[in-house]
Amino acid sequence: DAMVIQNPRYQVTQFGKPVTLSCSQTLNHNVMYWYQQKSSQAPKLLFHYYDKDFNNEADTPDNFQSRRPNTSFCFLDIRSPGLGDAAMYLCATSGPGLARTDTQYFGPGTRLTVL
């Protein structure tokens, strides 16, 4: 089955220690998104890639970076995690473009704990 995969499902890091979260997809979608979801809140878009074009949301902290080496993979790097960065991180894809009718499909998420 075509799907969005996130690894690891649970990640524990220390305050200030860089961490990388991974997302891969078999849907061959052009667009990949990263969302942050804190407890009992709606997902908040951090950024997205349209093919290799990176698009940052205006209020995404500089502490968050992303890489997309190819169509299938996308990484979220948190350079210096703070306690406030503890959250569920969701990867989503849509395609083939950014049309309003292109539905976003989500992965299972990575739960990040910062000690």
């Binding site: 998104y33 997902p43 878009l45 950014l98 309003r100 009718t101 976003q104 299972p108």
Partner: protein
């Protein structure tokens, strides 16, 4: 400003009872409408979507939703709830004139199912 409202933060129903989750949007035209479900510790799963046409939309897991233009609503319904339906439900809207990335989520409704 464009917005999505889910008036009910938490709903409790008995197994076998009917369910209706409310979603209202504020916008001058008809948007694209989605319902997602999130089980504890999981990502978001698409239940159904409405773009145009028949205003009653059938989704997975026995869910349906009805778009009512006059009420700016897209309420989710299920005739008989199962214990496995306990989860958080998010209404999401893509407003026309935007792109797939501009998916606005409601704040979510937590569903508890009593045996």
């Amino acid at each position: 400003a464009q917005s999505v409202t889910q008036p009910d933060i938490h709903i409790t129903v008995s197994e076998g009872a009917s369910l209706e989750l409310r979603c209202n949007y504020s916008y001058g035209a008809t948007p694209y409408l989605f319902w997602y479900v999130q089980s504890p510790g999981q990502g978001l799963q698409l239940l159904l979507k409405y773009f145009s046409g028949d205003t009653l939309v059938q989704g997975i897991k026995g869910f349906e939703a009805e778009f009512k233009r006059s009420q700016s609503s897209f309420n989710l319904r299920k005739p008989s709830v199962h214990w496995s339906d306990a989860a958080e439900y998010f209404c999401a809207v893509a407003f026309r004139g935007g792109s797939a990335r501009q998916l606005t989520f409601g704040s979510g409704t937590q569903l508890t199912v009593l045996p």
